[in-house]
């Protein structure tokens, strides 16, 4: 039996989980892997529905990852009717809208028992200002344990309900989140000043920059 379309899954999930707000995020690439955007409050219940529903049985959460979207100005071409020189014409205008940045946690779900997939589930944070929180799905799929830790480590997304949220790839004392699009590398990770004047000057500038950043 082929997998239901994202619209069908959305309708059934909204019926099964009262109050859940889902929407389908279209994907324009030829593979057409559309995804389901779920609100953070109901993510756990919706994910549980996806896992336990007998028609879906998405028991295998293959891939968990984060995506960072900066604040952006979206330009859209809109056809507007205008009166030019006394004649009504259709004119193309560029409409600009501002979009606030956000972070996403993306889950690729498959079914090992029914051998179908993927169903892509996304959770979106309201903004990019720390702390950003989404719901952890580790209690449902054990495979999220390390991957959510990785998203926290590299993107700074906090997963509520994760049993063991620590840095995984970067070292424990590391401050920033390197996969964010606005991440700026420190000029030297292991800078140790030596007692010479020009070096001390450089050290001062370096430390000042660090303090501003912190």
């Amino acid at each position: 039996m082929p997998l239901e379309t994202p619209e069908q899954i959305k309708a059934r999930a909204e019926a099964a989980v009262p109050g859940a707000q889902l929407s389908v995020v279209k994907n324009d690439s030829p593979c057409a892997q559309h995804s389901l955007l779920v609100d953070v409050e109901h993510a756990y219940a919706v994910a549980q529905f996806l896992r336990d529903d007998p028609q879906l049985r998405l028991d295998y959460c293959s891939n968990v990852t984060g995506v960072d979207f900066l604040d952006a100005e979206l330009s859209e071409k809109v056809k507007v009717k205008k009166v030019v020189d006394g004649v009504e014409k259709e004119v193309e205008e560029v409409k600009k809208t501002k979009r606030a940045g956000y972070l996403e946690a993306v889950y690729h779900l498959y079914s090992m028992s029914l051998k179908h997939g993927p169903v892509i589930l996304r959770q979106r944070t309201p903004g990019r200002a720390d702390p950003v929180r989404v719901t952890s799905l580790t209690p449902l799929w054990r495979s999220c344990e390390f991957q959510e830790r990785e998203v926290f480590d590299l993107y700074g997304v906090l997963f509520d309900g994760h049993p063991d949220l620590r840095r995984i790839l970067m070292w424990d004392g590391f401050k920033d989140y390197p996969m964010r699009k606005d991440y700026v590398e420190p000029d030297d990770y292991e800078y140790e000043p030596t007692p010479h004047d020009d070096v001390l000057e450089k050290a001062k500038a370096h430390q000042a920059a660090q303090e501003v950043k912190a």
Partner: protein, 404 residues
């Protein structure tokens, strides 16, 4: 723990994170309170990162009660170079050579996974001959990976030298083939979007046929030496058991999953490439222990050879790269794609988001080695240290892929 409680990423759990909190808390005091009811004092040991049995720079923080493992936490990141960030700052083709460095034993399957994902993203076609070359090189890679893994596993068990050297002798024959095809033994950089980089050199098919024809004889010899060996059976049977339910929940893939009896092979499920043309069987284990994982790999090699034999005869003439595929100035339309293939280690996936620019907006590697380590602790608890090492050996990790 309450699953709805808010976390801030800095709090530590009770006992099992003590190794990380050792500088701040009185480790001995806490360890003793947890160890009540045990006979001896608990001992914390950091195995690795420079330990020969951890297959690279990998650390296991273990808490031991005598010789029994009470707690085990894998620690990695020593080889972390933020592969994903580097790939997001370069062109699509620019990170093709860098995928070789993920799982440096199987660079050809890494190349294929990446090429397949980009082809999904951009909707590219692959010519017939290139599909055959991809299948042949991927199956050769599977054979060489599994051969070496058997050697490493035996090395971890204390069979110093002999099985590993036998395995490396055979690996060298396949590496010679790969070198004459791609110019490099391990860092192949061979696949391209819509095909492969270059055609087969003259005489390559005959040389490959010879290697494939001779391989079953080596496997027979290897298995006579190992599979029925009393020491190997005593060291591996019933060790590192993994149930099918936990394996599915933890997204274990590859031979480890199938050793637990779950029939899930992407070559059958996704039917990528031209795998549907060649009948092969998917070996399944029924105990989920280290011996099953070893045996699954042995059987998979024989199935791979069954695919290779007819594929080397059937390969058609033709172009090896789609003439319409544009390598310079390659800009896929905005969109996203997740592509995955069955590599020798498990499911290797690439998740790509394009915003229409020459660089991927998001480039994510789904590393099978890292995710297969999720349940390392579950498999090792209650076993001795020596068994934990054998269990780790049977997971088949490459740290270049774990850390990325």
């Amino acid at each position: 723990m309450d699953p709805t409680a808010p976390v801030d990423g800095t709090q530590f759990m009770t006992f099992h994170d003590l190794a990380y909190d050792a500088g701040k808390t009185d480790f001995q005091r806490k360890a003793q309170s947890v160890g009540q009811g045990r006979e001896g004092e608990l001992l914390e040991v950091a195995m690795g990162p420079q330990h020969p049995s951890t297959h690279g720079v990998f650390r296991m923080d273990v808490v031991l009660d005598g010789e029994t493992v009470v707690k085990l936490k894998p620690v990695f990141g020593y080889l972390h170079r933020n592969h994903e960030k580097i790939a997001e700052n370069t062109s699509y083709l620019g990170s093709m050579p860098y995928t070789d460095r993920l799982d440096y034993f199987c660079s050809l399957t890494n190349n294929w996974a990446y090429a397949l994902s980009v082809e999904k993203l951009a909707g590219l076609q692959v010519p017939e001959r290139a599909e055959y070359i991809r299948l042949i090189t991927a199956e050769l890679t599977r054979v060489l990976n599994h051969t070496c893994l058997a050697g490493f596993l035996l090395q971890d068990m204390g069979a110093l030298g002999t099985p590993l050297m036998y395995a490396f002798r055979e690996r060298e024959k396949i590496l010679d083939l790969i070198e004459s095809l791609t110019g490099a033994r391990m860092m192949c950089n061979y696949m391209r979007f819509g095909g492969c980089r270059c055609d087969l050199p003259p005489g390559w098919l005959d040389a490959a046929k010879k290697v494939v024809a001779e391989y079953p004889r080596f496997l027979d010899e290897f298995e006579t030496l190992l599979s029925g060996n009393e020491i190997l059976m005593a060291r591996t049977q019933g060790v590192g058991k993994l149930s099918a339910e936990l394996a599915i929940s933890a997204a274990i893939t590859g031979p480890m999953l199938r050793a637990s009896g779950v029939d899930y092979d992407l070559r059958k499920v996704d039917n990528y490439g031209i795998y549907s043309r060649y009948p092969f069987r998917v070996p399944l284990g029924d105990h989920g222990d280290v011996y099953d994982r070893y045996m699954i790999r042995m059987l998979e090699m024989r199935e791979s050879l069954k695919i290779l034999e007819p594929a080397l005869k059937d390969i058609p003439e033709g172009p090896v790269v789609d003439p319409k595929a544009k390598l310079r100035g390659f800009r896929p339309k905005a969109g996203e794609a997740y592509g995955r293939i069955e590599t020798p280690k498990g499911e290797l996936g690439f998740y790509l988001i394009s915003d229409g620019s020459p660089n991927p907006y998001r480039y994510r590697v789904r590393p099978p080695s890292l995710i297969n380590l999720t349940i390392l602790e579950d498999m090792c608890l209650g076993q001795t240290v020596a068994d934990a090492i054998v269990t780790l050996g049977s997971v088949d990790i490459v740290l270049g892929e774990v850390d990325r």
